[in-house]
Subunit: 201 residues, 2 copies
């Protein structure tokens, strides 16, 4: 069986059924796409339009064993996923360093903070100190709503949790402190528009 | 075994034998370390000092087969190295987006341009258009000299090659157009000092 993977993506048939999706059931809800897909497509759009140069970082993998078959590419035969020490996305936009993490949740009423790691909060703090722009994009997948949560309120919620408080961020906290992004066809999720609003406040 | 290292001579052991290296034969030539090691250590130093937040991006790997042994971490059983579409290092430094590639050569008289890929030049051009700071760090390993080559002269040399000209950048081109960095103990290679000089010109 011959399968091509043009985007370097892993074929995960059980989840993403975008190939079987007929045109007519397509809406701006970007059904079947992961948030990561949506952001990657948006970043492609930004790059084509000359808006920004933002990429997802590769997943960090610890390679243990590699074989070198003759006349073929090296094959990794044993490797493990490592925990990322930074955020997933970064790049440059009109002279600004942009650095963010993106998470989706099936929860409708709150965003569980277990989706974020302590070292990511540390990283975002350091980036803020260097005058980079950092934030969290959250997709509430079941209600199809997207928010840009600036680092400051994210850090506040994180500190509450670290002091024994709530382990999740309630939905209305997003309505108060975050900037909503309305999904579109192309780009799927024009987050820099939300960041523009965030920076103007 | 005790070895003396005359001027500029580099000790290149088969692997990194830093554990066996006694204190007295240590010099600023960072013997046995790769340029990547030196830059990673320098980035750690910058992070500790609050100077900048710059990281190496993980190597992009195409995962094909993963196994999930019970009670253990996922094991990648088949994967391939992919070509990076951007530069290796990026981050933020006092509000500036910094984005660069680092290469070492054993050549003493020129830097072969085959070390750089066309898509990296494209990426650097796009970053420049977004007002990011981008450059190439080159280590001439056998003579222990380090240079920061700004994107503009790199692009010029690249274009010469694309038009049928020289396939390498002569050493004296670096002396004319690049900013030399003197290696140290810690940080091993204080490249932001070179970038500061580059930006002030």
């Amino acid at each position: 069986m011959e399968i091509n993977y043009p985007n370097g993506k892993i074929y995960t048939p059980k989840k993403n059924n975008s190939e079987n999706r007929s045109k007519k059931d397509y809406s701006y809800s970007n059904r079947g796409k992961t948030l990561e897909d949506e952001i990657n497509e948006t970043n492609d759009y930004y790059m084509q339009k000359g808006t920004a140069v933002i990429h997802k970082k590769p997943v960090p993998i610890q390679v243990v064993k590699v074989e070198y078959p003759s006349r073929s590419a090296a094959v990794i035969k044993e490797a493990y996923y490592r925990t990322a020490s930074t955020t997933d996305f970064n790049g440059v936009w009109k002279g600004l360093h942009v650095d963010f993490e993106a998470k989706e949740t099936k929860n409708k009423t709150s965003f569980p903070l277990k989706n974020i790691h302590a070292h990511q909060i540390d990283h975002m703090r350091l980036v803020t100190e260097q005058k980079g722009i950092t934030f969290l994009i959250v997709r509430f997948s079941l209600i199809n709503r997207y928010f840009i949560l600036p680092f400051k309120p994210l850090q506040d919620a994180w500190n509450v949790m670290c002091n024994g408080g709530k382990k999740s961020i309630p939905f209305d906290f997003f309505e108060q402190h975050a900037f909503e992004i309305v999904p579109g066809a192309y780009p799927p999720i024009d987050y820099l528009q939300g960041v523009t609003r965030m920076l103007s406040e």
